[in-house]
Subunit: 640 residues, 2 copies
């Protein structure tokens, strides 16, 4: 808990400012996942004195008890200006505000597991973004008027051909000394840009060519994952954590609203950089034995949704949420690490996966690389395949060798634990699967890392809801049973609300369940609309790839029971995990993949589903388990 005071004499210095803004301006951290909309209740503060000077515009989700105790929403309360003719009475109490202690800060808990895909493992022709070259540069001879850079350039060209060799000043500064430390034996690191020039980013004395690391980075609205890759051995080390920006809004729209002025935009940029750099440090701290210090990291691929990339680079995101929804940029140039703010070798090239639309970003163009949708040479290249990335945003890609269409929907953060009272992202301690005893509703749960349960993640919620539904403890409308009694279901006095008891401290309310149902309805209705656009049925789809931050596994059957994904032959499905991260890893390692991504990006047509009039009808129809039209889920009918 901490207190802060606002002087009443100065109340006129806060014209129309809400208490959230005043607190932040005074360096008091307050969470505001809804972005100051008064809906999440996370910025609640207690007024200890001076309540008469505060106007609470509304109380949002605060309970009557909380209001009686003096709680207000900081974002929806402001200081009443003193009347000029009415100086504050000296006995007037000053305003004192108590900020409740934050709940455990999950943002700092990393989750480390090595996640690589089959495609990654079978990657042929490794050609990483940054390569090393160990060479021996002859010393200058009397009469040879070549400069050090000219001599070095000729030597490099002997290896790589007559390409242009480009050096940044920081390297030019090191050349003379380094060339003379070990008789001209030096290791260079370099990358080749689109212009086919060789960009030297490091010169080191002796042979360090075997030490070369790169990063694949997936920036999600809720979860951020960093994978360190040994570019020589393909060994990987992964760490993921919350995006620290969630303090400023749970979804992209809240973040865009938060970034309303340059200082706020800068704050968001700093938060995501802090998140990423902390993850890099987590990995290098635990792998120091193999020389993974950050100066040996020489390249990175970053994939993220369009808004996340705007915030990372402090690009004004405002026009992403205003018609006609225009981003600043889809395809960024390669930037160096120092410019981006990554704490690795300063001149390292940072490659950004290209975006396709304001709501279909580089995470998707990287993710598609983990599928066979665009493998033109495959026998089934004519068949239409589907890629669904489920996160705080849901993105869908459908196509075959001839076409690719894509669309996005806002699922909200529920699948990543957001808006769920005991929700969390898929990291150690998250319940990822729940079995329900049909007769007693007794839950049996499994956590990631087999450690004590700290909360429940998306796959855990899907598992729980599907199992409660099939065992008859939850109805199609998302209500817990009122007739059958269970010690694990707690119904409040008037019977209007209920919650399911998973552990002493982890409970799931009907509001939580409703949030998951809304999220799945957003996905299913988007899928339906896309299928309609293609004038096909779900059964014509030959393969469905599901990606997302569900951790190690997602039970496809449960997803179908939930009505999140269509009821088609189970063998058509595969869960491919964090495809944005895995795609980034492949892009880092393979020139072929970088070219393939560019090609598929150019081929993709973006469809704005939200503007279609039938979207709301489809969405409403999907707000049941599995759907209002049970005919769409024939296999479940049979099971019932």
């Amino acid at each position: 808990m901490n207190n802060f005071n606002i002087s009443v004499e100065n109340s006129n210095t806060f014209p129309n400012l809400d208490i959230l803004t005043i607190a932040r301006d005074n360096k008091h951290a307050l969470n505001s996942p809804c972005g100051g909309n008064g809906t999440c209740g996370k910025c609640k503060v207690k007024v200890v004195s001076g309540r008469e000077h505060i106007e609470a515009v509304n109380f949002g989700p605060l309970s009557k008890d909380e209001i009686a105790e003096g709680f207000i929403l900081a974002c929806k309360s402001k200081i009443i200006p003193s009347l000029p003719s009415h100086p504050p009475h000296p006995s007037n109490s000053p305003i004192e505000i108590l900020i409740p202690s934050p709940t455990t800060n999950l943002a700092t808990i990393p989750y480390t597991e090595n996640e690589t895909s089959e495609k990654f493992e079978t990657l042929k022709k490794i050609e990483p973004l940054t390569k090393t070259l160990f060479i021996d540069v002859l010393p200058p001879e009397v009469g040879d008027s070549q400069s050090d850079i000219d001599r070095l350039t000729s030597r490099i060209q002997k290896e790589v051909g007559l390409k242009k060799i480009v050096y940044p000043l920081s390297i030019i500064q090191k050349v003379a000394t380094t060339l003379r430390l070990q008789d001209g034996k030096v290791t260079l690191r370099f990358y080749e840009n689109e212009d086919e020039a060789i960009h030297v980013i490091s010169i080191e004395d002796g042979d360090t060519s075997k030490i070369n690391f790169g990063l694949a980075i997936d920036i999600g609205t809720t979860t951020v994952a960093v994978q360190l890759i040994d570019l020589n051995t393909k060994e990987t080390f992964t760490s993921s954590s919350y995006n620290q920006q969630i303090e400023c809004g749970l979804d992209v729209i809240s973040r865009i609203n938060y970034a309303k002025n340059p200082e706020r935009l800068q704050e968001l940029r700093e938060k995501i950089l802090k998140t990423i750099n902390q993850l890099i440090k987590n990995i290098t701290d635990t792998t120091a034995t193999i020389n993974t210090n950050n100066q040996n990291i020489s390249c990175a691929v970053i994939s993220g949704n369009t808004t996340m990339i705007h915030l990372l680079l402090a690009l004004n995101p405002e026009y992403l949420r205003l018609e006609p929804y225009v981003p600043t940029v889809y395809q960024l140039p390669i930037l160096n690490a120092a410019t981006v703010g990554l704490e690795i070798n300063a001149e390292s090239p940072i490659y950004f996966s290209p975006a396709v639309g304001s709501y279909v970003g580089g995470d998707i163009t990287a993710g598609v690389l983990c599928t066979d949708i665009v493998n033109d040479a495959d026998a089934d290249a004519d068949e239409i395949k589907l890629f669904i990335d489920i996160g705080t945003n849901g993105e869908i890609v459908a196509g075959n060798k001839d076409f690719l269409i894509t669309c996005a929907c806002s699922a909200g953060p529920a699948f990543e634990g957001g808006g769920i009272k005991c929700g969390m992202i898929a990291i150690n301690g998250a319940i990822e699967r729940v079995e329900i005893d049909t007769t007693t509703a007794k839950p049996t749960y499994f956590t990631i890392g087999n450690v004590e349960a700290k909360g429940i993640c998306g796959s855990g919620m899907i598992s729980l809801i599907a199992n409660l539904y099939t065992s008859g403890w939850l109805d199609a409308g998302g209500k817990l049973s009122r007739s059958k009694k269970s010690p694990y279901i707690n119904i409040n006095q008037n019977g209007r609300s209920a919650h399911f008891i998973l552990t002493d401290s982890i409970t799931i309310s009907e509001v939580d369940i409703e949030n998951i149902i809304r999220a799945k309805a957003a996905i299913y209705s988007a899928l339906t609309l896309l299928i309609e656009q293609m004038e096909i049925t779900f059964s014509e789809i030959s393969k469905v790839y599901i990606a997302g931050g569900f951790g190690r596994s997602l039970d496809i059957e449960k997803g179908i029971i939930l009505g999140m994904i269509p009821d088609i032959a189970r063998e058509k499905y595969s869960y491919i995990g964090n495809s944005s991260l895995q795609g980034s890893a492949m892009i880092l390692l393979s020139k072929e993949m970088r070219e393939k991504q560019k090609k598929l990006t150019n081929k993709m047509t973006y469809i704005d589903l939200s503007s279609m009039p039938s979207y709301m009808n489809h969405y409403s129809a999907a707000l049941f388990l599995p759907h209002t039209n049970f005919d769409l889920f024939p296999s479940l009918k049979r099971n019932n």
Copy 2:
């Protein structure tokens, strides 16, 4: 005057450190023009107490009187370590050192005069390094999925053709907001690189295309000149001052010696940046009415000798003075202003004139542009012409349309006032011309800016020595008359030394005269050797261009009398002033000049004269007025 103390108890903490280093480490500024060689005497300090703890290795030029008063050379004195077995006696006096007040710091006096050449005035086809473009970018329409950058790129390509358009992150960050401030009316600044890509360096709302400034910068060892140029009108504003690095050494070798560790190199880099940025500020402060604030300066061309460019960019200069005399780089890439450290628009391209040798730098390849040596189309393009740039280094270029050869010699700083007791660079207050009355030796002098004389510059010394010589007050060996008496000539008691009295405070000693004679001998002997190499005589040269920091004028006749330049038809000579600065200005304004400079640089052959055995003979023979071989100066013979 200021004092500093060294604790004797701690004398063991300064093993082998000289007092100059200890003083500097303690932030006490001491001049050391000779770079710590014990020859200039400028670092002399007075030991107030604790003399017994100091060992003076030598006293260099200090007089006996000074030594008796307690003066030592800081660079050649060190603390005697206490014997471990012999703890310092408590009554031992601590070491107290007095640093004499520096003489007037000329480094801070700028000189402002607009110097442009005829070539600059008649420059055709102005195509500045950075151009502006005022355009009108249509707003995004519903259904148009282009990003802001894509829309802007298409619009630019409509004007410049289908070239690649490159944006740094700082510009990408501004695009969304700026495009929406004045309905898409924006002004861009950009430059075209060798790769033919358009590099955008600025986006501004509205029409600011008429405000565009660039800088021509000449970095000399002694003098630095900055010229601000209105890229629309060609109007120029010039300011010059001492290179603040002179505190650390008067010539390039002393500076290279000073830069022996990375901190010292960084210090030299900071000193030259401070010099340049102060000159930029001088100009923008006095021209603010025409919007010359530093953010409106969008490009610069820098020309300087190879060592100066190394020091500006903190490139290790050590190997420039070690055989085989190899620089880090001859042709730098275009760097941006922030990387270089210039306080102008951060993304501005900085173009460096290419160097040809370790001692023939970009100042020479820029300077040749001010001559007709490489004008292939001229009627006299076959005739051999000569370009001589006289400064602390002397550089010579000879050639015609078929060949160009170049060499350098070390004249020392005398022509720029260095090593001359009352010497100074050619700025306001410098005596630039002296007439001598034949019968009395009474001097009449003229100062730059017609202000009170503060010292004497190179052209003043040339004028004085030549006139003293022709009027018989100075002999061919550089000795003032002992037989003819004049109140302006003061001869010391034993007759061994003498000085000439110009004003109450400005006197010229025989040592000063000797320094000038040495400098002119270096130039003349280099010229002789070069002519020998070409197997021609001076009379076959059709034109001689003299450049240098002599200010507005150099009297060619006096230069011949001095024996600095050959005795050929006077009409073949022209004095072209600071050709490095004027060449830079032309490069800034003309693409044709940039290409011409590249071509002439590639064509130039560098000859290392100092390695030739006959150099010392030629040099010794030139240590007379005008020369030991009077036959080389026939016109003077006739006049005699």
